[in-house]
């Protein structure tokens, strides 16, 4: 009889990395469905393209690095889905593939792979594409019709034409925009699912949303054409960012205090970019910028343990 020796605890919870990743993918199903309903085969192909490209890139690099396969963890697939959801529906297939390769290779593997990257890989992929194909990445089409006529996103309409899109359209998602960003309803369902299943911590999404609500309320009070708080929450990539990007465990602070700072920081930056920069939207850059601050935030928010505070 061979008895197993190991250190305590001898009992562990059932959660695992692949459980957490699959939960996030599950929570994205409403957004994926919404994107397919709104943008049809364009959405479907982009999502398949990105997730397969990410998965393949990761496995090839892991093979070269002589590391075990990570297929089971679904982490690369999740990055691919997230990347697809932040791309304009008219993105060309080669651009999507290139963005996926960049996201996994530069965004993740050069840092050492899972758990080591500083920036959110999907956002790095998108940032790369914005730089490489600026025109393609700012060309938007209308949902359902999918005609080639270029449209402006609600945030661009607000910023450059002082036209506010009705909240109902923003909530359901029948507006031009990135694949998975347009339907606020689908993202809220997914976000609530993640919170209920305790896949993500509430601190970052809540503080991020609260900060944007507070700032936009002030600006709305000054000038209603700045857009109401609900307009700002439902438009652009804010909900996708708050629930799915700013909650990526690897690239966000580990301390509780740090998570508040991260959420508030993202919220402030998003609103600054939306109001004062030349860009209509700033979720991507805000989160990437805050990602860079995470090591610093962690270092200065080491909590005082039980028994130190007075």
């Amino acid at each position: 009889m061979e008895l197993i020796d190991s250190v305590a605890p001898h009992q562990r919870s059932k959660i695992s990395i692949h459980w957490a990743m699959r939960q996030v993918i599950t929570a994205l199903i409403p957004a994926i469905l919404a994107s397919i309903i709104l943008f049809r085969e364009k959405a479907l192909f982009l999502i398949l393209n990105c997730s397969l490209s990410c998965l393949l890139t990761e496995e090839i690099i892991l093979r070269i690095r002589r590391k075990p396969s990570q297929v089971k963890n679904c982490s690369a697939v999740l990055t691919g889905i997230l990347l697809a959801l932040v791309l304009p529906p008219s993105t060309k297939w080669y651009a999507a593939t290139l963005g996926s390769v960049f996201a996994i290779f530069i965004g993740k593997q050069v840092f050492g792979g899972l758990g080591q990257n500083i920036f959110n890989p999907a956002l790095i992929g998108r940032a790369f594409l914005v730089a490489a194909y600026p025109k393609m990445m700012t060309t938007w089409i209308s949902p359902f019709t999918l005609d080639a006529i270029t449209k402006a996103t609600p945030l661009a309409l607000r910023k450059f034409d002082q036209i506010l899109t009705p909240l109902k359209d923003l909530f359901i998602g029948t507006v031009p925009g990135s694949l998975g960003e347009t339907s606020a309803l689908a993202l809220i369902i997914g976000g609530i699912y993640l919170l209920i299943r305790k896949v993500i911590d509430w601190r970052i999404p809540l503080t991020l949303l609260l900060t944007t609500v507070i700032i936009s309320s002030i600006f709305y009070f000054i000038q209603p054409l700045n857009g109401s708080p609900l307009f700002h929450i439902f438009s652009g990539g804010l909900l996708l960012g708050a629930f799915f990007m700013a909650t990526d465990p690897v690239t966000t602070p580990v301390t509780k205090k740090g998570r508040y700072i991260f959420g508030v920081g993202c919220g402030i930056l998003i609103m600054i970019i939306r109001y004062f920069s030349g860009l209509p939207e700033g979720v991507m850059y805000s989160i990437i910028f805050m990602n860079a601050l995470v090591p610093l935030i962690n270092r200065y928010t080491i909590p005082k343990p039980f028994g130190y505070e007075r």
Partner: protein, 428 residues
């Protein structure tokens, strides 16, 4: 704090049994915190049940008594569950059973005398730590709050629950004696809500006002782990925080486990030293999980040889203590110690051997740590060999409760890294 799978049934609801006739007992000279006891017997000596066979040595130590009448057949090193191998006394036992009669009236005894009885009865903390009780009950600071710990928050374990249900009187008798020594202003009995029968019995024991206790109160706590941890319990009940590196008496508190209270009662009223205890034998590999009164020193294997316990499924892991903080044993030939709360027998179904993966910095360990620490930082620093940087993240405050490892999705044995870190950190 976490909510763990409890696995308390069926042993939780079964009346305890007795096995007081071991053929042999192995008594390690170290069953407590502090200096090991010094043996007083030599090979071939005949000893009576309850006879002192090893005396305390040094300031923090404890005495050891023969659990059965018999003959000393060996004084040598043998397997010790915590220390791997340690010196101990082996007694070949005779069938004969000693009867204990109520001898003393504690109301006639003063504090010093009672402490002396507790010391000479070899009583140590029976919740697992094994700190000599006579020292704990003589703190350098005034105690105003006595907390009786009946939480038993570790999964599987049910011996404290059975004791509270079946020996309520004895536990209260012990608490009464402790109150006489410490003269606290109030007594809290802390029980988790998953122990309804104990709560009921304790409530009625208080309401009949038979016991001389200063404002006694039952505190029913939500079941969670590590509820029974001293610092956590004190905070929950009194909102006082034991300072880092401090002891409960620094905030005027003293926590005593119910089993220890019962042993104090037996020592003071019946002159019976600590030679038996109630132990939970459980786990899915066992055909008949139950709580058994056993003699200290009984080998786990003897319970199977005598047919007291039987296997149902193939045994893959034996744990001394609870699953969260207990020690894995490599065989059944280990003795029950004064501090042994339970022995668990697990089959493959209950063993999680998922390989360790890279940390994804999800901070679940941070969220569950009852001490407010950053467990993932310990792992990172130990893996990099940065032992000098462990103090800045307060490694010394870790109580090794195991919540972090429990909830880690990357299956990192965080507590293991912490133990390594503490070891290298101090020997630097």
């Amino acid at each position: 704090m976490i909510r763990v799978e409890e696995y308390k049934l069926p042993q939780h609801d079964l009346p305890s049994e007795k096995f007081l006739h071991p053929k042999k007992v192995y008594l390690p000279l170290s069953q407590h915190i502090g200096k090991p006891s010094k043996e007083l017997v030599s090979l071939g000596n005949l000893v009576d049940e309850g006879e002192l066979i090893a005396k305390p040595e040094g300031k923090v130590s404890s005495s050891l008594h023969a659990p059965k009448k018999g003959k000393v057949v060996a004084i040598e090193y043998f397997p010790h569950p915590v220390l791997k191998r340690y010196k101990g006394i082996t007694i070949e036992c005779q069938e004969e059973e000693k009867k204990y009669f109520r001898t003393k009236d504690p109301s006639l005894l003063d504090k010093e005398k009672i402490l002396q009885i507790i010391e000479s009865a070899g009583i140590v903390g029976m919740g697992g730590a094994g700190f000599p009780t006579h020292i704990k009950l003589n703190p350098p600071k005034k105690i105003d709050t006595l907390i009786i710990n009946g939480c038993e928050c570790e999964p599987y374990l049910a011996c404290d629950y059975r004791l509270m249900v079946e020996n309520t009187q004895g536990v209260f008798g012990g608490v009464e004696i402790i109150c006489k020594i410490l003269q606290p202003k109030r007594v809290f009995f802390c029980i988790e809500e998953n122990k309804p029968e104990a709560i009921k019995r304790f409530n009625s024991s208080i309401s009949i006002k038979k016991y001389d206790l200063p404002s006694p109160q039952i505190v029913v706590l939500k079941s969670c782990y590590p509820q029974g941890g001293e610092k956590q319990l004190i905070y929950k009940v009194t909102k006082r925080k034991v300072p880092s590196g401090g002891l409960p008496f620094d905030v005027g508190c003293l926590v005593q486990n119910v089993a220890t209270c019962f042993s104090i009662y037996q020592a003071v009223y019946y002159s019976k030293p600590l030679i038996e205890r109630l132990v939970t034998f459980a786990g899915d590999s066992l055909f008949n999980p139950k709580n058994i009164w056993v003699k200290v020193g009984t080998l786990i294997s003897e319970l199977f040889e005598q047919g007291i316990l039987q296997f149902k499924k193939e045994l893959r892991k034996v744990i001394l203590g609870g699953p969260m903080m207990g020690i894995a044993l490599d065989s059944l030939d280990y003795p029950i110690l004064k501090t042994t709360t339970g022995v668990l027998f697990l089959s493959q179904d209950r063993i999680d051997q998922e390989p360790e993966q890279e940390c994804i910095r999800c901070a679940r360990c941070v969220d569950v740590c009852p001490m407010g620490l950053l467990p993932l930082e310990f792992v990172k620093r130990v893996k990099r060999g940065e032992f000098e940087k462990l103090d800045e993240v307060f490694i010394k405050d870790c109580i090794e409760c195991g919540c972090c490892s429990w909830g880690c999705p990357a299956k990192i044995p965080i507590v293991h890294y912490i133990k390594v870190g503490k070891l290298y950190g101090t020997h630097r």
